[in-house]
């Protein structure tokens, strides 16, 4: 049975049959991809970010392609937590794999209310806390932009939830390892990184920004070296597991993140280009692990740090 357990891994108390997750916002609430491949090949589903109230998202152009990348400013369009629970959880609950719900708030109170509400919902396996949203009571600076507000968001979710907490870190900071330590100290069970890098594009004919929201989040292969570097730094700084992501589009990319220290990895933008890429990466990564002669993929974690 070695081959069956080869890809099993853990993030805190969550047992995953594969280290491959969907990145939040790139698989909706999973029904679309469920028509294209067996979702049970995934380690877990990480759903599109949920807020307390429904959000219509940003006006105007929301997407622009950049070299080997995509800049998006969707603006957290989502049906709100209540419609998510009634409309999406019944399907998600039927899947045999863990469901990780990504939550976002504009105030600490909103994070607390979301955590409390989801804590009582059957089928929710863990929370991923998006701290890249603006803190409207503190001048709109993102919660994830400094150690104090990142810690405060983690603390309030921890107080209202018994679920495993994965805090998703923003790369738009000077020292991501310091932020990772601050959320670890407040009881985060894991960190996921990186969220998108802030970017923009200008239309030279109209002489205006392309995106309706002016700035957006850059994702895709273009950001992979940055993401990998940050996973490397955070692995050195914290003891909690890391979910690595940022531009992963091949099994080799996934292997790099695991060797840098990730316990699991998430695939995002690459799924837009090839919606069945996760099962493909799974096959490649499994062959790689077999060739390395390990009994479990976790044995490869952080190996690149060996002196």
């Amino acid at each position: 049975m070695a081959s069956q357990s080869l890809m099993q891994t853990k993030i805190a108390s969550l047992s995953l049959q594969s280290p491959l997750l969907t990145a939040s916002g790139t698989c909706g609430y999973s029904q679309e991809f469920g028509r294209l491949f067996d979702l049970n090949h995934l380690g877990a589903i990480v759903v599109k970010g949920i807020t307390l109230a429904p959000r219509r998202g940003n006006l105007g152009t929301r997407l622009v392609e950049s070299p080997a990348g995509l800049i998006n400013s969707i603006g957290l369009e989502n049906p709100g937590v209540e419609d998510f629970i009634s409309g999406e959880m019944p399907f998600l609950r039927q899947q045999k794999i863990p469901v990780i719900v990504n939550i976002s708030g504009n105030t600490l109170e909103e994070y607390g209310a979301l955590a409390a509400r989801l804590n009582e919902v059957a089928g929710v396996s863990a929370l991923e806390v998006n701290i890249s949203c603006p803190n409207v009571k503190q001048g709109g600076m993102a919660f994830g932009a400094n150690c104090e507000s990142a810690a405060a968001a983690t603390r309030v979710v921890r107080e209202h939830s018994t679920l495993p907490l994965i805090v998703k870190l923003s790369p738009n900071v000077t020292d991501i390892a310091a932020i990772a330590k601050s959320v670890e100290a407040e009881g985060a069970d894991a960190v996921s990184l990186i969220n998108t890098l802030l970017g923009m594009a200008i239309d030279v004919d109209k002489q205006r920004p392309v995106l309706g929201n002016i700035m957006g989040g850059l994702s895709g292969p273009a950001i992979k070296p940055v993401a990998l570097r940050m996973v490397w730094q955070v692995f050195k700084a914290v003891k909690i597991p890391i979910v690595g992501m940022g531009g992963i589009s091949s099994w080799q990319d996934a292997a790099e993140f695991i060797l840098a220290g990730a316990a699991a990895v998430a695939i995002g933008t690459a799924s837009f280009v090839n919606p069945i890429i996760i099962p493909e990466i799974h096959r490649g990564l499994k062959l790689y692990a077999e060739k390395q002669g390990v009994r479990n993929i976790a044995e490869l974690r952080g190996l690149a740090h060996q002196s």
């Binding site: 916002g25 790139t26 698989c27 909706g28 029904q31 679309e32 991809f33 028509r35 294209l36 599109k48 219509r56 998202g57 152009t61 929301r62 997407l63 622009v64 392609e65 070299p67 080997a68 990348g69 995509l70 998006n72 969707i74 369009e77 895709g220 292969p221 273009a222 589009s249 933008t269 799924s271 837009f272 280009v273 090839n274 919606p275 069945i276």
Partner: protein, 264 residues
């Protein structure tokens, strides 16, 4: 946003790649699954290169659906890096394609006189639509706006289906001198229709909608948008709803909408 049909992910061989007008090409792909399931107004999402740059797929309305030859075609102009890559495909090359996608035109039960309004590359979805409409015995007129005579595609093919094609051009090369909106106003002044279908630039669609509302003519519009996934997942391709302040998503809720559902 839910997919209407389960799309196929295929490596479709190129069976024909023709230049059909100045800068306008038709790429025909062999795909029995897509050809069997596709409906007029639906689209396919084509990957321009197997590398990372350009990264995203490009959506194209289906320009031919040939269930006998088991092929589908797209009509395109080279406007950027994606279409530039696609233009290099040769017969026999395999093209990474997903489809059919989106909701097409609603055509069941349509009879009598029907009107198609196309602006520029908005002609692309009209042939498969007209083909179905003509086969069901409808009388079809197509108003087609082009910039100049060399841009004109599909006129002979549509005429062969039995469509009455009237071209509008600002340079005077068409039957009507002016914009397709001007031609539509003139046409609606003389004739009445039971249903209209339009595809073209957003500004054209807005004007066409306004005229059709005045003429009490039901209209379906095929809307264009930048897309990332084409599957209803990324939520990037918005079109404002006519009522309320929420958005439709062009790839999954459209690309064809009843004009009264959308704010153009």
């Amino acid at each position: 946003m839910r997919l209407v049909t389960t799309p196929h992910l295929v490596q479709a061989p190129v069976v024909e790649h023709q230049v059909v007008a100045k800068e306008v090409r038709r790429l025909t792909l062999y795909s029995p699954q897509i050809a069997l399931d596709a409906m007029p107004g639906q689209f396919i999402n084509v990957r321009p290169s197997s590398g990372h740059d350009p990264l995203l797929r490009r959506p194209f309305s289906l320009n031919r659906i040939d269930s006998r030859a088991q092929t589908v075609s797209i009509l395109y102009k080279v406007v950027g890096r994606g279409t530039e890559h696609i233009s290099h495909h040769q017969v026999g090359d395999k093209v990474d394609t997903i489809g059919p996608l989106g909701r097409g035109f609603s055509i069941s039960g349509l009879r009598g006189k029907l009107l198609l309004v196309a602006g520029g590359m908005g002609i692309a979805p009209m042939y498969p639509l007209a083909s179905k409409l003509c086969a069901s015995g409808a009388s079809v007129t197509c108003l087609y706006g082009v910039r100049c005579a060399e841009d004109q595609a599909e006129v002979r093919e549509l005429a062969e289906l039995g469509v009455k094609v009237v071209t509008a051009s600002e340079d005077g090369c068409g039957a009507y001198q002016g914009t397709v909106a001007g031609l539509l106003a003139a046409t609606l002044g003389e004739e009445s229709f039971s249903q209209a279908f339009a595809c073209g630039p957003q500004t054209m669609l807005a004007v066409v909608k306004e005229m059709c509302v005045k003429a009490c003519l039901p209209l379906q519009v095929s809307v264009e948008s930048m897309m990332a996934c084409g599957l209803g997942v990324c939520l990037g391709c918005t079109c404002p709803r006519a009522e309320g302040d929420m958005f439709w998503h062009v790839c999954a809720d459209g690309p064809v909408f009843s004009a009264q559902e959308v704010s153009l």
